[in-house]
Symmetry: C2
Subunit: 120 residues, 2 copies
């Protein structure tokens, strides 16, 4: 099996509290944006870079940290704790400004490496 090696294609900027966020695509991947302005929504896959390595070992959580909810396997949740810390969010594409995509609804931390975009 080939090695599963990931490279960032861009980065998230702005705080999760902001209504609009910006995804800055790296210049080498600019060609991948052709006609993206025709997409109303996009799926953003990003690397949850702030998650400590130990939390990749956590396999069960109380959903949303609510101890009243039963312990649940991470694969049955959207918890950031999981073996491969890949976040996945559907966002609204507000506009493209060259290498920048202005989006609404992105819950990634600032600085998160973006690993993929797909029409959504």
């Amino acid at each position: 099996m080939p090695e599963m090696r990931i490279r960032p294609v861009g980065f998230v900027t702005g705080s999760p509290e902001d209504e609009l966020r910006t995804i800055e695509i790296s210049p080498e991947f600019e060609d991948g944006l052709l006609r993206i302005e025709h997409c109303e929504h996009l799926w953003v896959l990003f690397w949850m870079h702030a998650l400590p390595e130990e939390e990749r070992q956590v396999l069960q959580v109380h959903p949303r940290g609510d101890r009243a909810r039963p312990l649940t396997g991470v694969f049955a949740t959207h918890s950031p704790m999981r073996p491969n810390p890949i976040g996945m969010t559907r966002v609204k594409l507000v506009r493209r400004e060259g290498l920048r995509l202005v989006v609404e609804g992105l819950d990634a931390l600032a600085g998160s490496p973006v690993i993929d975009l797909k029409s959504g």
Copy 2:
């Protein structure tokens, strides 16, 4: 930034033509499946392992290989060609049998490493 290293949590078996497919989770990740049978649908992230390295360089495609459709950046499509060959499909969870999840609607090739599951 920490290295973006991915490990498989399981593998896909059965042909894409089969209505039902099986995801075999590796024993070390069994705890992550707790209560998964309560999910009707799951998002499956998988590594498109059969994609040659060269196709990770392709940044523009004719959607669905249809030359009548204009050349489009891969980030505006669901083409398997993309810098990080991660596939993403929402499936119906039909049943769990221990480490095996029987699912409907999974378009991954047999042998594809599964890298994440999320409730869907």
